[in-house]
């Protein structure tokens, strides 16, 4: 081996020993695995996609032709091979429902969901931390009991029920917020990123921005309540546990003000489990969003995915599941970054 070869290979080793590089390579492999799995499952499920796409009254020879076009007459591994070939050319196959490439559909529907989830996350982070801190600061006080009752309700009641309750109260009875949709009639925004709030700001349309925000509140709140409840409870439990640890008593023993002890020395270690759960919740929101999207007539990816399942839209199913898989991958990388920022023991182990 020449000297140059040695340095190249050690450099490669250095890159590979980086935790995040390994993690990203591994998640690419995982996404491949998911694609094989879901590709197969979608095809072995009962029901004929070609027949479902063309309807019960289409003549058999047309259906047969369509089946050939979709390569459904070939063995699954051949189908998968062609699908992969398509993917490397930037196509995810034709949707049997919209008759467009699945990628085009995803690009159209994903932003609405992403916007919903980002807004939900903002509410979630603010809600979970403030409730958890209020509750953990004064355990067993009146306000703590109120938060705990809310938390039980938040966990027990599913998000679509919250959606209906909030819609009923805030939109129908009090009439302070719009009941559904992303924008009011008559307001239009040029599509740039697909996120209406961002697009309206980019084009300087503040009326549309305000309108988009009011449309986001109820759906985001109904998605966020369950997460807030769960995370606030975890934060509260960790705060109460940590406040009796010797490292906290040691700070009291030195006469450090209790606000510094609580908000600095107790809060940081208590945040680690909460942040982990929070990021996982973020990924599962993509899946949980579909009923909420349905209720609020929200043109997002979750609704598209459900329609695809019901209509056995093979390529769309694979596309949507891959997006969800990608979301989990990104979430787990975010968890790692946040946790290693909060917890030096994790940071130095890598």
């Amino acid at each position: 081996m020449t000297a140059e070869n040695v340095t190249t290979s050690t450099r490669l080793q250095n890159i590979l020993s980086n935790y995040y590089v390994r993690k990203i390579l591994l998640s690419i492999v995982t996404l491949f695995g998911i694609s094989i799995l879901i590709f197969t499952i979608a095809r072995v499920l009962p029901g004929d996609p070609a027949r479902l796409a063309l309807g019960p009254r289409a003549p058999e020879d047309v259906v047969e032709q369509y089946r050939k076009l979709l390569r459904l007459d070939q063995p699954i591994y051949i189908q998968y091979f062609y699908w992969l070939l398509d993917v490397f050319n930037g196509r995810f196959g034709l949707s049997l429902v919209t008759f467009r490439d699945v990628l085009t559909d995803i690009v159209e529907f994903l932003p609405a969901t992403v916007e919903l989830i980002i807004f939900t996350l903002i509410i979630d982070v603010i809600g979970a931390f403030s409730l958890g801190v209020i509750s953990g600061r004064k355990p067993n006080s009146m306000i703590d009991n109120a938060v705990r009752i809310f938390a039980y309700a938040g966990i027990a009641i599913p998000s679509f029920v919250w959606a209906i309750i909030l819609q009923l109260v805030l939109a129908n009875w009090l009439d302070i917020l719009p009941a559904y949709g992303r924008l009011s009639l008559g307001i239009e925004v040029n599509r740039i990123t697909g996120l209406i709030t961002v697009d309206s700001l980019l084009s300087g349309n503040l009326v549309a921005f305000a309108d988009a925000i009011t449309h986001l509140i109820i759906p985001s709140l109904s998605l966020a309540i369950g997460c807030i409840a769960q995370e606030a409870r975890i934060l509260r439990a960790n705060l109460i546990e940590n406040i009796n640890k010797d490292y906290i008593l040691n700070m009291y023993a030195h006469g450090i003000p209790s606000s510094i002890i609580f908000f600095k020395y107790a809060l940081k270690p208590s945040m680690i489990p909460t942040v982990t759960i929070m990021t996982l919740d973020m990924a599962s929101m993509l899946g949980n969003a579909f009923l909420v999207e349905l209720i609020f007539n929200w043109p997002g990816l979750s609704r598209y995915g459900i329609t695809a399942m019901l209509r056995k839209d093979l390529n769309a199913i694979v596309g949507v599941v891959l997006v969800i898989g990608l979301a989990y991958t990104i979430a787990s990388i975010i968890i790692d970054l946040l946790v290693s920022y909060l917890d030096p023991r994790v940071r130095y182990k890598r």
């Binding site: 640890k245 010797d246 490292y247 008593l249 040691n250 023993a253 030195h254 006469g255 023991r345």
Partner: protein
């Protein structure tokens, strides 16, 4: 008299029951005196130390008793005075330095906060340069090599001995009059234990601090203290000068405790004491040692014995000397 504790009761409340741990403890520490507290695990030694600084866990309550420090009852002190005592008069070394140092903050962050608040109560708001100088000086005092590296480290990056030195350094910042040491060597390697003890001994002598050393290592207490209190199940059983106590133990518990300690010179292991510490939910109404005592009498079971002065410097709480 620097510290005088009378009739101190400490309970731990839980949802279903109350643990009645300390049961009328008394204690005296003179200026410059080194006091030892011995007793087996679970006797309430740590609870006693924590109540002196009023840093019990949140479920800890003090229904009765007084802790007079410098003439003032710590339990009735206002926040300002208590803070002053905590910041610059009494310091505590915890049993397990790993548990007593915050795992997600560097030594620097924790040490700076402690130094800063101590200087602030002296009416001086230190710059970060002053903080750094002070921190390095303090770490040098406890013989930590490479203080700069230690400051940048997180607790888990230091060895057990180094962590305990950091702990001692922290305690000494606050301990200008009284140092409380809660089994400072229990969690260390045997080879390190001696070094740490010598360090504490040296620093205490240099600064002429009063100390309370809590331990179940009797040899250590024998070497390092002037007076010893024997604590069993939340009751002081005996109090005497160190030599007197180890050579003429009066209370049956003390006698058993001393004889059950293994010695290098003797063959085999001591006998130990049969039975275990009572259940604090429902402790014996009389002498708490009665259920395990070889000389138990009827009255021991129903009524707690008072303090009995057996000679000038020796007090025992036992009906045998009544």
């Amino acid at each position: 008299m620097l510290l005088e504790i009378n009739d101190l009761h400490v309970y731990y409340k839980s949802y279903w029951y109350i643990l009645k741990v300390l049961n009328g403890v008394w204690l005296r520490v003179d200026k410059g005196e080194r006091v030892g507290i011995i007793g087996e695990s679970g006797s309430g030694k740590t609870t006693l130390l924590k109540s002196i600084l009023k840093i019990l866990p949140q479920n800890g309550i003090i229904p009765r008793g007084e802790i007079r420090y410098d003439g003032k009852n710590i339990l009735k002190l206002g926040d300002n005075e208590l803070t002053k005592i905590r910041r610059k008069e009494i310091g505590i070394i915890f049993q397990d330095p790993m548990a007593a140092l915050n795992p997600v903050f560097t030594i620097k962050e924790q040490l700076y906060d402690i130094i800063k608040h101590k200087m602030m109560i002296e009416g001086h708001n230190p710059s970060s340069k002053e903080l750094h100088e002070q921190a390095v000086k303090i770490l040098n005092d406890v013989r930590l090599p490479d203080p700069e590296r230690v400051l940048k480290s997180y607790p888990f990056q230091l060895s057990g001995g180094m962590r305990q030195r950091v702990m001692i350094a922290m305690a000494l910042i606050s301990a200008e009059k009284l140092l409380l040491a809660d089994e400072p060597t229990t969690n260390l390697d045997v080879t390190i234990q001696d070094q740490i003890l010598k360090l504490i001994h040296k620093l205490v002598t240099e600064k002429n601090l009063s100390t309370i050393l809590v331990s179940h290592a009797l040899g250590m207490v024998y070497q390092m203290t002037d007076r010893v209190f024997v604590l069993y199940a939340g009751d002081i059983m005996e109090e005497a000068g160190t030599n007197e106590l180890f050579n003429h133990p009066k209370h049956p518990y003390t006698q058993l405790l001393i004889s059950s300690t293994p010695r290098l010179s003797s063959v085999g292991v001591g006998e130990g004491i049969k039975g275990k510490i009572p259940d604090y939910r429902n402790p014996p109404p009389g002498c708490r040692f009665a259920p395990r005592c070889p000389y138990v009498m009827d009255k021991c079971i129903n009524m707690k014995p008072g303090k009995i002065q057996v000679n000038r410097d020796h007090v025992v709480s036992c009906y045998l000397y009544d």
